[in-house]
Each structure stands twice: as C-alpha cells, then as structure tokens.
Assembly symmetry: C2
Homo-oligomer: 171 residues x 2
C-alpha cells in the first residue's frame, strides 16, 4: 500500500509529463467514483491537463454518458474487461482528451459473484494508438480497494507516458 | 473546518435519508472534480443512492456533457450562479436522479479576477420542486477550499432533505 506522499508524488509526475507534452486526460470512473479525477485536481494547475470525466456509478450512467452497450452490461457485466474498454473508448468519443482512462471494479463488501470476487478491478487506458486493459485483484476493505485502484490508474498512465511495460495482468 | 469524522457523519446522514426515501442523487463537479461523488461512495451500499455524475472540469465538458450554453460561459463565466444552475439542471435532463447538485468555484491559487476571488464557490441544487443556488466564500489554500465545498454540498442536500433553511448566501 503506497503512502499518501507516494500517491502525491506519482500524481505529480503524471501531471508534469502531461503538461510538458501539452496533453490532457479524462476519466470514466465507477468504483472509484471520482477519486481519480479528484486526486489529480489536488495539484494547482491541474486544469492544464485534466478535462474532467464521468462518474458512471450506475449502469444507466455507463449507457447514457459513455455509450456502453446494453449487450456488454448484460453479457459481460459492468466489472469486465469489455466494459472497461467500452467506458474508456466511449469517453474518448465524447471528448478531445489525448488519454481516457476507465476504472470499474467491485469495492464490496457486497456484489461478489462466481468469478468476480470483491477486489476485482479492471482499468482501461485508451489513446490514439490503442486501448489496453489490465486486471487487478486488491485485498482489503472497500476504501482500501478504491484507493489501490486510484494508485494503479496513475501507475498505468505513468507507464504509458514513459513507454514502459504496463503494470497489472493482461485481461 | 469540520473534521473527517464530521464529514463522514454528515455524508452518512444524507445517505440514510436518501435510502429511506428511495431517492438518488447525481453530481456535476468542477472545482471539487469528483470529490463529492467519491466521498458519498466511501459508504458501503452507496450505489443505492448515487447515480454518479460528471466531472466538468473544462468548459468543453460543461457544454458537451451538461449542455451549459456558450452564452453563459462567455457572459457569466464558469464560476457564476447561472453556470451552477445550468450544470445542475443540465445533469438532471440527462439522468433520472431525484436530486442533482453542482459545484463550481475558484480553488486557486490562480484564476482570480475582479469580483471573483479565490475561494468563491457556487453550489446549485435541483429537484422536481426547484433549482436553488448558494454562494460561498471560503478561505485557505486550494484543497481546503475544495474540501469545504464538499462539506457545503452535503449540508445543502441535507437541509433540503429535512426541509430546513439552506446554508450559504442567496446568489
């Protein structure tokens, strides 16, 4: 578990890299519910790199604001690699952001089902080159899982900005 | 300045009142950038009352996702009572939430202009009865202002749920 200072340092590195390149990011957040955006916005000057995003907590929000298909939500479910990619790509279609990043997972304590335990989180990153999605399985209570998701979201974007191998399992 | 425990207690009271009534809320957030939604989502079971929302950090997001008019953004500016109301009403048109709440303000340190000092925040609350907007002027650095905005957003919704007089100045 990274400290607040470590998360702050990571966020600042992401901010600095984006600003140096004149690039922006937007977030589509389910289980983190705005915490990724809010963490980046702690930095003075964040508006230079943060467009904003969608807190798609309900499936209705995923459909209406991100264009996630009913088929994905019914067949794969909201916590799935396909939904994560559809969220990031759907947000990209509706913004001019260089990067869109989505987070969807089960923060618990309820909601687990066979094959989808509490702590399962998918994070997708979309840019002009590609869409990638990574699978994470975090341990701990609800807000530990939500915070770990925020850290991993920034780690993923940080690796992409540096062209380094991405963290997390391929999903 | 309220403590984390006080904010947690307030958020839990709002959650409990909404759940008892079977009502939901969505948030349109600028300077708080997702922190209001994320705070409510700390509560296990938040999905019963939280639909989600839009982090409309850029003016483009305010236009595209909330339908705020270019005229409001140019004439009144993003930090204005009219923009706050347009954000809350725009979100209401795009969701089935019983309440929509918007936050727009100047968290600083930059961005101040004559008549719009750092710390100026407008919060609007829309429901089937009406739209109301309140003006706040918070002191302190960026993240103190952002957190105070979160507290006031929940206070406003709490007062509305109890049919009590709303906090903040009429704007």
């Amino acid at each position: 578990m990274s400290s607040n200072k470590e998360l702050g340092d990571l966020t600042l590195r992401v901010f600095t890299l984006l600003r140096q390149r004149g690039q922006t990011v937007a977030f589509a957040e389910s289980c983190t519910a705005g915490l990724v955006s809010a963490t980046l916005a702690e930095i003075a000057g964040a508006s230079e790199v943060l467009d904003g995003g969608v807190v798609s907590y309900s499936n209705e929000m995923k459909r209406e604001f991100l264009g996630v298909s009913a088929e994905i939500l019914e067949r794969d479910g909201a916590v799935s690699p396909r939904c994560a990619v559809a969220m990031a790509e759907g947000l990209s279609h509706r913004t001019h952001s260089d990067f869109t990043l989505s987070v969807t997972g089960l923060a618990g304590p309820g909601g687990a089902e066979p094959g989808k335990p509490v702590g399962l989180v998918y994070i997708a990153l979309h840019d002009a080159r590609s869409s990638v999605v990574r699978r994470f399985l975090f341990k701990g209570e609800r807000n530990i899982i939500r915070r770990a998701s925020v850290v991993s979201a920034f780690e993923l974007l940080h690796c992409r900005l540096l062209d380094e191998p991405l963290c997390g399992e391929e999903a």
